[in-house]
Subunit: 228 residues, 2 copies
DNA sequence: GCACAATTTGAACAACTGGTAGAAACATAC
DNA sequence: GTATGTTTCTACCAGTTGTTCAAATTGTGC
């Protein structure tokens, strides 16, 4: 009955067990490092399937040490959400506030969102995947802020429809959701080593969506090619 | 003092563990019912965070009974993947095989994919989320079939570019990924009780994307509504 | 060297995990 | 009724989970 101490409890997942007996140096942990490593593992294996042992192992530390820097497992997840939100919200709000024409606003919003999705892709994947594991008032706050973020896109589209640069036959909310899906999905397949930079991808997405929303292609939307 | 309060950090955990001693009637299980219930729970809480007890509980049965119908937990996941693939692959292949013009092919492909994403949304969410939990040759098979599926969209777009109905300035693979992201994302927000049917949404998506890809100013306007 | 705070360890814990075995309940045919 | 095969239940196993905590280790100023 007396449980035999699991001496060799290595991180039993996919990673091979190589006890860092060589470098006996203790590792300097930090909240940032923990959150970054956790985002990576959560994105790869899911929150529920990632253990604190896994996270500690990837940092070369032990599970107990994590608790000096974080409150609990859900706390790590909270930090990932805050990281994504602080990187996303303010730049978009500024774009929306500017008085550029709607189509240019939309291009810039797409570029911004694609940039976040590309550069923070593990955290981004976690963001849109693991909210069921958040609890309490924080969970509600996230839902609210996400809605506000989405509504910026919707408003830009509505603005363009009112100004006559976007077709009014498509519901702005559906268009915004479609556009966001397009961008968010990128965190599933984008690799910085691929043939296109995220700026190029954003430009293609913008061309795709804006051309489709434009009612009058007569002026010169496809061949204009000059910065306003 | 080992007064460690086992806090319920789980947010969306179902009701507390109350063995259904009230209704002692036994439940008729089936592989289909198990897979359906599991898809629902996996979509909501993730594969790793869903226990066999959870699945059994939602079916009003016990864990042991599941094993008469399924081999193990991963086997359930395999069935979910097969369900999505069998619903997706053949209709799309037929659309691609047809000799309709490329823009109509694309409209139909979008309608098909949106239909699958809308009607099988829990399974769809699982499909694009839990492949790390598949192992062995089946995992590789899924990756391969997914690639084939995506390539259909890419080919339709290339076809349209060659025929001059789609702009050649956008990389076909990127356009296909963007389009698929748009459709796949729908399983995250679509509710059949919403203001639009999935057919209407598919029509809007088609209008968005095809208009954007079209080089000529006059796309045929009212064109929607495809069967099945 | 010493004192004192910051940090990490390693073991312990209770709860829960996927999976198994055998007994029990059921259905159907005779 | 008995016999037989199908389906579900209960109880259990061995291992893993998140979390706590005293003790050990490290860093820093003197």
């Amino acid at each position: 009955m007396s449980g035999s101490a699991p001496q060799d409890t290595a991180a039993t997942k996919k990673t091979t067990r190589s006890n860092r007996s060589k470098e006996t140096q203790r590792v300097r942990l930090s909240q940032k490092a923990i959150v970054a490593a956790a985002a990576d593992l959560f994105a790869r294996n899911g929150f529920g399937a990632t253990s604190l042992d896994d996270i500690a192992y990837q940092l070369g530390a032990t599970k107990g040490a994590l608790y000096y820097h974080i409150k609990n497992k859900e706390d790590i997840l909270r930090h990932i959400y805050l990281m994504v939100l602080t990187a996303s919200e303010e730049p978009l709000a500024e774009i929306a506030r500017s008085n550029a024409p709607a189509d240019e606003k939309l291009s810039r919003a797409i570029a911004h969102h694609v940039s976040v999705a590309a550069s923070r892709s593990p955290a981004m994947m976690v963001f849109y995947r693991e909210h069921p594991h958040l609890s309490g008032p924080f969970a509600r706050e996230i839902v609210e802020r996400k809605k506000v973020y989405e509504r910026y896109f919707e408003q830009i589209i509505e603005e363009g429809q009112a100004a006559g640069v976007f077709s009014p036959t498509i519901d702005a909310k559906i268009a915004a959701f479609g556009l966001l899906g397009m961008c968010n999905w990128l965190s599933q397949w984008y690799q910085s080593s691929g043939p296109y930079t995220h700026q190029q991808i954003a430009a293609m997405f913008a061309q795709m969506v804006e051309g489709g929303l434009a009612p009058t292609p007569s002026p010169s939307p496809a061949k204009a090619g000059d910065g306003s």
